[in-house]
């Protein structure tokens, strides 16, 4: 796979700068993330990794005081172009948050929430919806656990189940890219393992960009790794390579735990 072959790229940023008010959080970020890969974003707190992640589906803009220069291409389209509709960007780019955030409605309605939004006003048949529901929950290995509780409130599930549900509800709208912002940090070790396994399962079908504070997680659960520091990308290579032979001194210091 050649990184230069345009269509193979899921995400490409060019000279991406981002300001929160007057504070500049990202500096000239150039990234090329290949299709179907799991790429982890690591770096100390405040280095801009979550900011970078949140500018790939433009959820940053909720804050209202964010300004951006440069470009972000997702699957070949510049998502900051003026004619772009946010609804369609977010159909292509799903997001999993740090704290599981299922909506306070039933498990079924959570999974079908995005599906119904993007159905374009066409009312899907009951059988079709049930099939989509089961398929999504099976993909995240949750079907057997919740199939008897589909009409219970999603907020009553365990945190691990909630986080899996939050992944499941993205799948019915067939996104190309999944963004995950420290998806395991609210979970216990067993939950972390289960969600990591699930993410690994999804590899190949989706391009996954995952922010993590956990070096071991980056190492075992991603194929490529990006190290950021103070709003700049320092290094972007194969995960195996980065953890064995980092090219930059800062990277080496960080992964050996000298700061962060």
């Amino acid at each position: 796979m050649d990184a230069a072959g345009g269509t193979e790229l899921a995400i490409r940023t060019r000279k991406l700068n981002l300001w929160y008010g007057t504070f500049q959080a990202l500096f000239d970020v150039d990234l090329e993330i290949r299709h179907g890969m799991i790429t982890s974003l690591i770096g100390p707190s405040g280095c801009g990794k979550s900011t970078l992640l949140r500018s790939v589906n433009r959820i940053n803009e909720r804050l209202g005081y964010v300004r951006i220069t440069g470009s972000v291409d997702v699957l070949g389209h510049d998502i900051y172009a003026p004619e772009v509709e946010l609804v369609q960007v977010r159909q292509q780019v799903g997001m999993v948050f740090q704290r599981p955030n299922p909506l306070p409605i039933s498990v079924r309605d959570n999974v079908l929430f995005g599906y119904d939004l993007h159905a374009g006003g066409r009312r899907k048949s009951r059988a079709e919806r049930e099939e989509v529901l089961e398929d999504a929950l099976r993909q995240v290995v949750l079907w057997d656990k919740v199939k008897d509780r589909l009409d219970h409130k999603a907020t009553a599930l365990s945190l691990e189940e909630q986080q899996k549900l939050c992944i499941a509800r993205l799948l019915p709208v067939k996104p190309g890219v999944l963004l995950m912002d420290e998806p395991c940090s609210a979970l216990d070790p067993r939950g972390t393992e289960a969600v990591e396994e699930l993410i690994w399962e999804l590899r190949g079908r989706y391009t996954i960009l995952i922010v993590t504070h956990n070096m071991a997680q980056a190492r075992r659960a991603s194929e490529e790794c990006i190290f950021m520091l103070l709003g700049k990308v320092i290094e972007h290579t194969d995960t195996a390579e980065m953890f064995v032979t980092p090219r930059h001194q800062e990277t080496a210091d960080y992964i050996e735990g000298r700061y962060g």
Binding site: N57, I59, R62, G64, L86, V87, Q88, V89, R90, Q91, G94, M95, F97, R99, N101, P102, L103, P104, I105, F113, G114, L117, H118, C166, R169, L170, V173
Partner: protein, 318 residues
């Protein structure tokens, strides 16, 4: 103490405490603490004492009527309120209940769209200065005395209704309903806005990240999540409408009627007490009947407010 060159050179404050110190001295701070505790306790239970006191008082005054003259059936089911009739006074409050209910009902039809719209705008759309200005304005609106609203009903709404709808009298259900609706809207807006603010932002973020538009976020996520609080806001509005006196006295026309259209004049329970209590002999049947209306109002508003409170609390817990 044995001679200790190091310890002796220390300043007095750093030396070990005097082992003979006692632990049972009551100084000024102790007395202030006790006094404040008692004062706060009295303040805390005063609300309960007052509410029981008021209930006991109005029950006592209405008691004679409840035991003697009172006929449950006549009182609640007869539309004839003729307390001053020579020879055959009747005490039926059905028409008064109909008056209060029709005015309150119309008021809610007016107030619910206004207050929910305002609450959604303030909580979900407005930001920064706009939001602050709006909140202050809504609170100012809530502070307008009810007699001023009544005056607006009497002097402004009355001629407008007469001209617009070509009816003989403008003091009617429509007039009082609109006035009462505008009166109840500010408090309903405040409570509804609190309920919307209490919806965690991560729900909105989750829905937006899935591609929901702003309206879809509000309609599919925020409003259902705030449902209990919004219901509580409406119930408090109903309670306000039920208990309001001065504005309805001035704007309803104050004539005993079971309304068949919004252009009929009616009379409210509260307004009846306000208008008649001063002219009755203490202890007479009429006097006690008015207090029985008071008991009825007290019980109804108590139930409405209690329900509203429980409903609002429900949303916090869930």
């Amino acid at each position: 103490m044995p001679a200790d060159p190091v310890g002796a050179s220390k300043p007095r404050a750093l030396q070990a405490a005097d082992p003979a110190a006692d632990f049972d001295r009551l100084n000024r701070d102790w007395y202030i603490d006790k006094a404040v505790q008692i004062a706060v306790f009295i303040g805390g239970i005063s609300a309960i004492v007052f509410i029981i006191g008021i209930f006991v008082f109005i029950s006592k005054e209405g008691f004679g009527f409840l035991l003697g003259e009172f006929s449950f059936k006549e009182f609640f089911l007869s539309p004839n309120w003729r307390p001053t009739s020579e020879g055959n006074p009747t005490y039926g409050i059905l028409a008064l209940i109909a008056g209060t209910a029709s005015v309150t009902g119309l008021a809610m039809l007016v107030a619910i769209p206004f207050s929910l719209g305002a609450a959604v705008f303030i909580a979900e759309f407005a930001s920064g200065k706009t939001r602050e200005y709006l909140k202050v304005t809504v609170e100012l609106l809530a502070a307008i005395p009810s007699v001023v609203w009544g005056f607006i009903g009497l002097a402004i709404m009355n001629p407008i209704i007469i001209q617009t709808f070509n009816v003989p009298i403008g003091l009617n259900v429509l007039n009082a309903g609109v006035i009462l609706g505008l009166m109840a809207a500010p408090i309903m807006t405040s409570i509804a806005e609190d309920a919307l603010k209490a919806v965690p932002d991560r729900y909105r973020e989750a829905a937006e990240a899935m591609g929901a538009t702003r309206w879809q976020v509000i309609y599919k996520v925020v409003l259902p999540a705030a449902r209990n609080g919004l219901l509580g806001a409406v119930l408090l509005g109903v309670g306000r409408g039920f208990g309001e006196t001065m504005a309805v006295l001035m704007a309803t026309g104050h004539s005993i009627n079971i309304p068949t259209s919004i252009f009929d004049s009616v009379r409210a329970l509260t307004a009846t007490i306000a208008a008649e209590l001063g002219e009755t002999a203490v202890g007479s049947d009429h006097y006690e009947a008015l207090f029985t209306i008071g008991i009825f109002l007290f019980v109804v508003t108590f139930i409405i407010n209690l329900t509203a409170d429980l409903v609002v609390r429900g949303v916090r817990r869930g």
